[in-house]
């Protein structure tokens, strides 16, 4: 057994885990953060995606002991401390970007990182950006719309948005009718 310390959603958490404990199981069952889901346990579906030091990783392909001392954000940590949903979360609700909700935490983490890297992606960039996550319910159309809408919300809420005005042009944008 190994003592590990993780900073999860800004809180320092400790766990005693065997070396083979998957990060997904550690988060879900040792730390009680069941928002991270497990859909395939072989790194394909993306349901278990969390942010490790800000970068999306498959928590089902990561041993918990290998991330000792690192910082992790799960779906439970995406909203603001006062509970206000993040732009990505709001956009998914607005655009009906989820149905059963099982794949959703993985998409939210992936998209959060995607938009941080590229705040105004084209349609093709969005489709590529979420192409590591499976969804069996939505057919992706509203997920893609959600990502564009999230970019829009972030641009609107960014203090510098008036100077750049970059949310206005962006070719390939999909808007919900």
């Amino acid at each position: 057994m190994h003592e590990i310390t993780l900073t999860v959603n800004g809180t320092v958490r400790q766990a005693r885990v065997p070396a083979r404990r998957l990060l997904s199981d550690c988060l879900r069952h040792d730390l009680g953060l069941t928002g991270t889901h497990v859909g395939c346990e072989h790194g394909v579906c993306g349901c278990c995606t969390v942010l490790l030091d800000g970068e999306p990783v498959r928590s089902c392909l990561t041993f918990a002991v290998t991330v000792d001392g690192r910082e992790i954000t799960t779906v439970e940590g995406l909203a603001a401390p006062d509970g206000t949903l993040s732009p990505v979360q709001r956009a998914f609700a607005e655009c009906h970007g989820l149905q059963c909700g099982f794949c959703t935490p993985g998409f939210l983490c992936t998209v959060t990182a995607l938009l941080r890297e590229n705040p105004a992606p084209t349609r093709q960039e969005v489709v590529e950006g979420v192409s590591g996550n499976l969804c069996r319910c939505t057919g992706y159309q509203n997920i893609v719309a959600s990502v564009h809408r999230a970019a829009e919300i972030m641009a609107e809420e960014s203090p510098t948005s008036e100077q750049t005005g970059e949310n206005e042009e962006n070719e390939g944008r999909v808007r919900r009718s």
Binding site: Q99, G101, C135, G139
Partner: protein, 796 residues
């Protein structure tokens, strides 16, 4: 009016919890539970000679190991055959744990319970099962031809055989009508296996309360009420001591209507036996090899038609692969056989199917449930007729359509619910007109020529379907308004992402005239509503939606009666607006529903101020009447059921434009258009979402997904690495248009929408590829390699 919510694209109330990680799926429950894992057969067909657990018992944290021999009473009997049918002469179901023979890879043999799943799997790995390997039967044609048997007592491997025949108006049988027709064609069609493949697999958590001898089970199921009855029956428990709850469920798509799964009875039994909570969560490989698949059929078609392409006779023989067992009966081939006719008036029809055993995973409904196969057959037939006659494919379809003035239209068949297949309403010519406009059908020739000039190959395809939705027998709804003004709605059927909490709240808010925020909805919890059938066959909105509307109408009537008394008004002059009962046109005279709820329940005890108003000494009640009037009940609540005379028939038409790569044979969908008619829309945003998701699954089935079994009955692609489900990169943008032909059968005029999107996709894509390539496409799914090979055959 603020409360008219029916028909509005209201945002989903499920979303806040699901977006913040606060959803509760089965594996999120029961922290500290013992966990189960299963030893499953590695062979498709084998006899169990011995099970040696001696090494496994050394595993630290092991709690129990069970084989078939440990199972008591009814649990040791085969699992139920849920839907018997006279044609299913040789129905067979599995034991919860294999008894002597295993008949597919993945069949459960040993259940292990340990402190956690890791340890349970450690123990599983140390259990040695000695098998005598038997020769397996794989594929329908081998099943029919082979002298090897899946079940020793099922001759020819045929579980069911059914012929249905509808003669022509002048009394000709289909075969006579075909022989007499000016033109005839015959061909063969093949459809491969796919599967529902929800991202959350199955899962069961059971808690036994030894003090009051009650069992609470959470299962990722599409029918908690029926799982409850199955558990009570299998474990010999009184029904009131068993409760089953479907919590948040991560997708179903049909596979979770199958029940009781072995695990659904074994896990509760272990929880009782061990006196400890037990949980089992299916992993992905288990889902591939031990849940259920669907689709695989071989169809032989003969059709006779006239110069206009009108079908005078249609004769279809279907070989249906139902896998190793038939727990869900023969619903899938029955639906194929009956829904095959689509929006068409066919001269004479004969359909014969044989449903056969193979040593593969059992087949139970997957979204569409036999319809995609039937539509593939009918729509391929229409395309082949058009090709033969040199006619436009839409013209041949139009020549066969049932006309709007012909409803109700009796197809002369018996549907899956055992009731007549009578279409209630529809407008197929208008639907086709809208589709042609949406996709630009008539202008496609120019587009194709332009593309050809650039060296590109494009094609357009079409597919039409009619879908029987909202099958009975019934669903119910319960509505209670409490003294805080809250409205509590419950229904027994379950949810797997369809947004039922939202649409049922829309219905209740509209019917009762209350703000939607005051309405809460519970589904799939037997503690709240015990009578239900389940969520399948695009039935939830039709069945529970109408039941809830009817229950609301009862409550509304009662509220008006009580309020009329209090306001000294005539109930007919009252309306409910924003949760307040008021005299229409007289704004001053009003009483909130919360107060009506108080008045409905004359109490002795005043536990708060609201209740104080209802105690028998408050207010001036009449001494001539009992506090609860004769024929009344305390409380502002109502329960009602909706039980339809027969199914309601939704319909739709899809078209696609595809491009095929001249060199690599890669297939790309350039455009995808859907015209959809599900009667009145409760929430257009949610209906659109259902269509998008259905089309995506259809694209998977048309181009990517198949279960690849080798000759030994091994499923070679039992992982998401190898079973190719579409990502965002593979699914086209779906363009939709809605036609609303209300159903005359139910109070809300609605039809089901859940399965629609998936149904015609294989037919549409085959039609489009055929148009692009000029090569017959009679087998789905089709990969670039398949298309490449077809090109070789066609040119060689």
């Amino acid at each position: 009016m603020t409360t008219k919510l029916f028909g509005e694209p209201v945002r989903r109330r499920e979303d806040p919890r699901l977006l913040t990680g606060q959803g509760r799926y089965v594996d999120d429950l029961g922290a500290g539970s013992l966990e189960a894992a299963f030893v499953r057969s590695p062979y498709a067909h084998a006899r169990i000679r011995d099970i040696d657990v001696s090494a496994a018992v050394e595993v630290d944290g092991l709690v129990a190991i069970y084989t078939w021999e440990d199972l008591p009473g009814a649990l040791a009997q085969p699992l139920p055959l849920l839907i018997p049918h006279p044609a299913l002469t040789h129905g067979r179901t599995a034991y919860p744990l294999a008894r002597e023979i295993v008949r597919h890879v993945g069949e459960p043999v040993v259940m292990v319970v340990a402190r956690d799943r890791y340890l349970a799997e450690d123990a599983c790995a140390l259990i040695e099962v000695d098998y005598e390997v038997l020769a397996p039967v794989v594929g329908v044609e081998e099943a029919i031809a082979s002298d090897r048997l899946v079940h020793a007592d099922v001759p020819g491997n045929v579980g069911a055989h059914l012929v249905q025949e509808v003669p022509s108006a002048d009394g000709l049988g289909a075969r006579q009508a075909i022989d007499a027709a000016p033109h005839t064609l015959s061909f063969r069609l093949d459809i491969e296996r796919s599967a529902s493949m929800p991202l959350e697999g199955r899962g069961v958590h059971a808690r036994w309360d030894a003090d009051d001898r009650s069992l609470r089970v959470h299962s990722s199921t599409q029918t908690s009420t029926s799982v409850r009855m199955a558990i009570a029956a299998k474990l010999g428990l009184p029904l009131p001591q068993v409760e089953v709850i479907a919590p948040d469920v991560g997708g179903g798509f049909g596979v979770k209507i199958m029940h009781p799964w072995p695990e659904e009875v074994l896990v509760p039994w272990a929880a009782i036996t061990l006196g400890h909570e037990v949980k089992w969560t299916e992993d992905r490989r288990e889902h591939f090899v031990s849940s259920a698949h669907e689709r695989a059929q071989v169809q032989t078609v003969r059709v006779g038609f006239d110069d206009e392409g009108r079908v005078l006779g249609l004769d279809v023989e279907i070989l249906h692969d139902h896998g190793a067992y038939t727990p869900y009966g023969i619903i899938v081939p029955i639906i194929t056989a009956t829904q095959l006719l689509g929006p068409y008036r066919i001269g004479a029809y004969r359909v014969e199917f044989s449903s056969v055993y193979t040593n593969t995973v059992q087949v139970t409904p997957y979204r569409g449930a036999g319809r995609p196969q039937g539509v593939f057959c009918m729509e391929r037939t229409m395309d082949h007729i058009a090709e033969y006659l040199g006619a436009d494919r839409t013209a041949v379809r139009a020549a066969n359509f049932i006309q709007p003035d012909e409803f109700p239209y009796d197809q002369g068949l018996i549907f899956q619910d055992g009731r007549p297949l009578i279409y209630d309403s529809g407008d197929y010519p208008e639907s086709l007109r809208m589709l042609k406009e949406l996709i630009g059908w008539d202008a496609f020739g120019e587009l194709k020529a332009r593309a050809a000039a650039e060296g590109r190959t494009v094609g357009i395809g079409i597919g039409c379907y009619v879908e029987g939705t909202g099958v009975g027998p019934y669903e119910g709804g319960h509505v209670q308004i409490t003294s805080d003004g809250r409205v509590h709605v419950s229904t027994g059927l379950t949810s797997q992402g369809q947004g039922h909490e939202t649409v049922f709240a829309q219905i209740a808010a509209t019917e009762l005239g209350v703000p939607m925020e005051r309405v809460s909805v519970v589904t799939g919890d037997t503690r709240r509503f015990g009578y239900a059938v389940g969520t399948f066959a695009s039935r939830a909105a039709v069945m529970s939606g109408n039941a809830i509307a009817l229950a609301c109408r009862k409550v509304r009537e009662k509220a008006l009666r009580i309020a009329a008394d209090a306001l000294e008004a005539d109930p007919r002059d009252l309306e409910i607006v924003d949760g307040e009962v008021r005299v229409a046109g007289s704004p001053g005279a009003a009483i909130p529903l919360s107060t009506v709820a108080v008045l409905s329940n004359p109490l002795r005890y005043a536990f708060d101020e609201e209740a104080a108003r209802a105690t028998q000494f408050a207010g001036a009640s009449s001494f001539d009447r009992p506090p609860v009037a004769e024929g009344e009940e305390p409380g502002l609540e109502g329960r009602d059921y909706y039980s339809p005379i027969r199914s309601t028939f939704a319909s739709g038409m899809h078209a696609a434009i595809v491009e095929t790569d001249p060199l690599t044979a890669e297939i790309r969908i350039l455009r995808y258009a859907v015209v959809h008619d599900c009667g009145n829309l409760i929430n257009p945003m949610i209906v659109e979402g259902q269509i998008h998701g259905g089309v995506a699954q259809g694209v998977g089935g048309a181009l990517y997904e198949k279960m690849v079994y080798d000759g030994h009955g091994q499923l070679l692609n039992a992982s998401f690495m190898d079973f190719l489900m579409p990502y965002a990169t593979e699914v086209p943008v779906v363009e939709t248009a809605h036609l609303e032909t209300p159903s005359p059968l139910n109070p809300l005029g609605i039809k089901g929408a859940g399965e629609a999107g998936v149904i015609p996709v294989s037919a549409v894509i085959a039609s489009a590829i055929e148009d692009a390539e000029g090569i017959r496409i009679d087998r789905m799914p089709i990969s670039p390699s398949d298309l490449f090979a077809l090109r070789g055959t066609a040119s060689g």
